[in-house]
């Protein structure tokens, strides 16, 4: 019994990234419960007070419920895009690395082209084609995010495929599907988890960037990027608005990045340079 207790990780300050992420997840869930904030023209851009602890926005809505609903959208977009692009990217990369041959070459040449578009350029181009809106943002970001998963899982699968246990499974006559699923993929989980964490941070920023440019999530859905766009406009009269939204975004991204660093040193995954 005592042994078990000792083997549990003890909570310390080092766990703040996980704690902060959990906090924002809870906030996002609360965002489901809270009603939509109603505009009230008598409160426009009022600073925080006893009634509304985060103050009011540019049409007199309380900022707090909108911030939580924005957290919901930011996090669910990031999670959904991660899931979609990870499933597509990992399965393509896994097959390419394991089977090699023409499919491998083709996939790499295609990802070469995708990597020629720096930053959010490709997402912007897709957003321009698809038009704004929540589902289009998810699609546009997924179309760009699968590439890094594919590259990573391909290179990892290539090295794992040469290992003894895979050769042993092959000589025992195991089916390719079984080998990939049971013998290759589990060994890839650590680097892929680290990659997924970093990619979550950049997805939160990418979604906010698209919304900031007006190409992302549209009204009436609150999104942190769209809120920042309004907040920056009224920065002089109501600095609390830009501070609240900006700090929320920075804290989330900081926590996710830091968690990525921690996971990386935990699993001893060599970082990308």
């Amino acid at each position: 019994m005592r042994l078990q207790l000792n083997s549990l990780p003890s909570l310390s300050w080092a766990h703040w990234p996980a704690g902060l992420i959990l906090f924002w997840l809870v906030c996002a869930l609360l965002g489901y419960l809270l009603p939509q904030a109603q505009p009230d023209l008598t409160h426009i851009l009022q600073a925080p007070n006893g009634h509304a602890i985060l103050g009011y926005d540019d049409v007199g809505r309380e900022i707090l419920p909108r911030l939580l609903q924005g957290a919901r959208i930011s996090l669910s977009v990031a999670l959904l895009v991660s899931l979609l692009s990870a499933v597509v990217g990992i399965s393509l990369g896994l097959c390419a690395g394991y089977f090699g041959g023409f499919f491998d070459t083709l996939l790499m040449r295609i990802t070469d082209i995708f990597l020629a578009f720096p930053g959010i350029l490709l997402a912007l181009a897709f957003a321009a084609i698809l038009g704004p809106g929540l589902s289009n943002v998810i699609l546009a970001l997924s179309l760009t995010a699968w590439v890094s998963y594919a590259r990573l899982s391909r290179i990892q699968a290539q090295s794992v495929s040469q290992q003894q246990h895979v050769l042993a499974a092959k000589s025992l006559g195991a089916a390719h599907r079984r080998i990939l699923w049971r013998h290759v993929l589990p060994l890839l989980s650590a680097p892929l988890l680290v990659e997924a964490t970093y990619s979550m941070a950049s997805l939160v920023i990418a979604e906010a960037s698209l919304s900031f440019l007006g190409l992302g999530v549209q009204v009436p859905h609150p999104s942190w990027g769209a809120m920042l766009r309004d907040a920056v406009r009224y920065m002089l009269v109501a600095p609390h608005y830009v501070l609240v939204v900006g700090l929320s975004l920075v804290s989330l991204v900081l926590a996710v990045n830091r968690l990525g660093d921690q996971l990386r040193s935990q699993f001893d995954v060599r970082g990308k340079s």
Binding site: I113, G119, A128, I129, L228, L254, R258
Partner: protein
Amino acid sequence: MMARFFSLLWVVFGVLLFTFLFIHLLPGDPVMVMLGESASSAEQSVLRLQLGLDLPIWQQFTHYLWRILQGDWGQSLFSHTSVAQLLAMRWWATAQLALLALCIGASVGLPLGVWAALGYQRWPDHLASIFSLSISAMPHFCLGPLMMLLFALKLGWLPVSGMDYPSSIVLPALTLGFGLAAILTRMTRASLLEVLHEDFVRTARAKGLPERQVIIRHALRAACLPVVTILGLQMGSLLAGAVITETVFAWDGIGRLLVESIEKRDYPVTQACVMVIALSYVLINFLTELLYQQVDPRLRRRFNRGAVSGGAA
């Protein structure tokens, strides 16, 4: 080297293919989308002919390539000026911004990284890592307004936005430069820490060189190489990544042009912007790689050794 060159050609081809398909990927008839519902059928057929949309698709693509090569990039649907002229002007504005940002980033990030590595696990290191972590968590649309608030509105030192004064470039360049400095700090620190454990540094110390000389003449020179590569790669993405910063500060560069054209559905301009940004990025990366191979003495030495042993055999 040839392999690298062919891969460059393939990527350039891929980028052109994507920007060509861009018009065709738009939902609905591109001509209707571009002109709107109210356009007369005469206008529609003029544009259709102009874009060559009546030809088979592979012919359209070869025509497109030919037009691009000739510098005929079409006309803006709104200002009716040549897209190539528009882009040349805007590209230069972005390049200026990127160059200044690169200088700022290098002059902040490199010393800070060196300082952090020399004070490894002591307070210089901690301070530098707090700086780089918090800046890299801060997207440009947070950092930019913060800069504006502090330097333009509270202190009144610099113009808020626009391009009216020569000093207008400072705030957007600082925003981009700080983001770059955060990355450079981390890279310089990591690369210098790695080099400090190498044999040649121990040799330099063992021969009794003063620590200053060891760091400057031996360690830093070796640590610079990966940092130079990062600088090159970042220059490429600065040309592209300025989209947000240019929008925040109303800097009329290529990124802002891209966003404006998307808003106005000025598709020829969007198409050309995406193409130019991607091609600049690819070319700068290619040049950086070439430079790296020329500069790295280890690559040169390997080559020479190969030549000598080849001669002996």
